[in-house]
């Protein structure tokens, strides 16, 4: 079946897909349902929890540089650009929302790169705090939120390691109707190192050179557990890694949300680019 998929669409030859495609977005024909994550609100936008108020709209980027012009994507011209404001600690968060029809083993694959805005003629390899992704899933019993990030730099010190998060943030009531709550699951607290998760990625010397990286995560929707994380040639076993687990919520049945995010480590815009995102599952 894998080979059949690769024959149907040659772009899939760059991936190692499972049997059935749940989503395949290469961003050369639009944003394909990717949008900005916003916190819940009631009656007024002022009721959105502060960290959720400004997660920035996704952009279709040609990655065009002041010194050498357009980088383009791994394939074609456009990639999804997740872009922060020029503010230390700011998070840009973009999301695609679908539902699952089978509790299967699923595989996320993507090609990505990240850089700060090329506003300085210096190395700038410590400007991006992190790039990461998460799923927001719910079955009959519980809501489960796998969170993974690559911590590149923290407070100006290179960290270069993969982390996960299982610590929950408290729910807060939103508005006055008693029907809406919100929790800031992307808070800076509670990130833990993935064992053996140190990895030096190719930054490549200056802010205007971009190298694409391969990412893969295997996750079991039936057991609600991680299998493996892969970035380039590094493979990390996640079978003992904990998850953010919450009792099922009233209107999220069969939810399968996928989120990509980035965080700035200085007062400078940082950009997380996705050439393509592929989610497949076992039949």
């Amino acid at each position: 079946m894998k080979n059949q998929l690769r024959t149907i669409d040659l772009r899939l030859n760059q991936f190692d897909p499972l049997d059935r495609i749940l989503l395949f977005d290469d961003f050369n024909t639009g944003l394909s349902g990717w949008t900005e994550l916003i916190g819940n609100y009631e009656h007024t936008l002022d009721s959105v929890l502060l960290p959720y108020q400004d997660h920035r709209p996704p952009q279709l980027s040609s990655i065009s540089m002041w010194d050498t012009g357009t980088v383009g994507a791994l394939n074609g011209t456009y990639s999804l650009k997740v872009a922060t404001r020029a503010k230390k600690g700011h998070q840009a968060v973009n999301i695609k929302r679908i539902t699952f029809r089978k509790k299967c083993k699923m595989r996320l694959e993507a090609f990505f790169t990240f850089k700060p805005e090329a506003t300085k003629l210096t190395l700038s390899d410590q400007s991006v705090r992190s790039i990461g992704f998460l799923f927001d899933l719910q079955n009959e019993n519980e809501r489960v939120m796998p969170h993974i990030r690559y911590l590149n730099s923290l407070e100006g010190t290179l960290e270069q390691k993969w982390q996960y998060k299982k610590q929950r943030s408290p729910f807060r009531s939103i508005g006055t109707e008693g029907k809406t709550v919100s929790h800031y699951h992307l808070s800076p607290e509670g990130w833990e190192d993935i064992p053996g998760g140190k990895q030096k990625l190719c930054y490549n010397e200056i802010a205007t050179k971009h190298n694409w990286h391969y990412l893969r995560l295997d996750f079991d929707l039936d057991q609600m557990k991680y299998y493996e994380l892969q970035c380039n040639e590094k493979i990390m076993n996640l079978s003992d890694i904990g998850l953010m687990r919450i009792p099922a919520m009233p209107n999220l049945w069969n939810m399968l949300n996928l989120v990509f995010f980035t965080e700035a480590d200085e007062d400078r815009r940082v950009f997380f680019y996705l050439d393509s995102v592929l989610l497949t599952c076992e039949e």
């Binding site: 024909t29 639009g30 900005e36 936008l45 920035r56 709209p57 279709l60 040609s62 540089m65 805005e117």
Partner: protein, 109 residues
């Protein structure tokens, strides 16, 4: 991008208080040929105008020439139409009165 023209709407600023001189975040619009920028007041009356700016690199900015007035009442909307803008656009403005706004970039291939 195919026979049916692509459309995308980006809320480039939301629930942001503007006063005196301000700039929106830059946005990449290279795939589009038409752009309408809407400014909606969420609270208060602006008093001034905005100018569309374009850029070769998203860092250095020039005036594109399009200007329009700010909304002068809560929930009022004003707009400017732009075409032939290259890859980066932002909005630059000046207001004598503080107001809270939502800025939408409405793009078509």
């Amino acid at each position: 991008m195919g026979s049916m023209r692509q459309y995308y709407s980006a809320v480039v600023e939301r629930n942001v208080v503007f006063e005196e001189i301000f700039h929106s975040e830059p946005y990449e619009v290279g795939w589009a040929t038409e752009l309408i920028i809407f400014v909606r007041s969420l609270d208060g009356a602006g008093d001034g105008a905005v100018e569309v700016e374009i850029s070769p690199d998203g860092i250095r900015w020039c005036k594109e020439g399009t200007t329009f007035e700010l909304p002068t009442a809560t929930d009022a909307v004003t707009f400017g139409k732009v075409s032939h803008f290259g890859n980066w656009v932002r909005l630059s403005g000046r207001t004598k009165k503080k107001f809270k706004a939502l800025i939408t970039f409405s793009m078509k291939e």
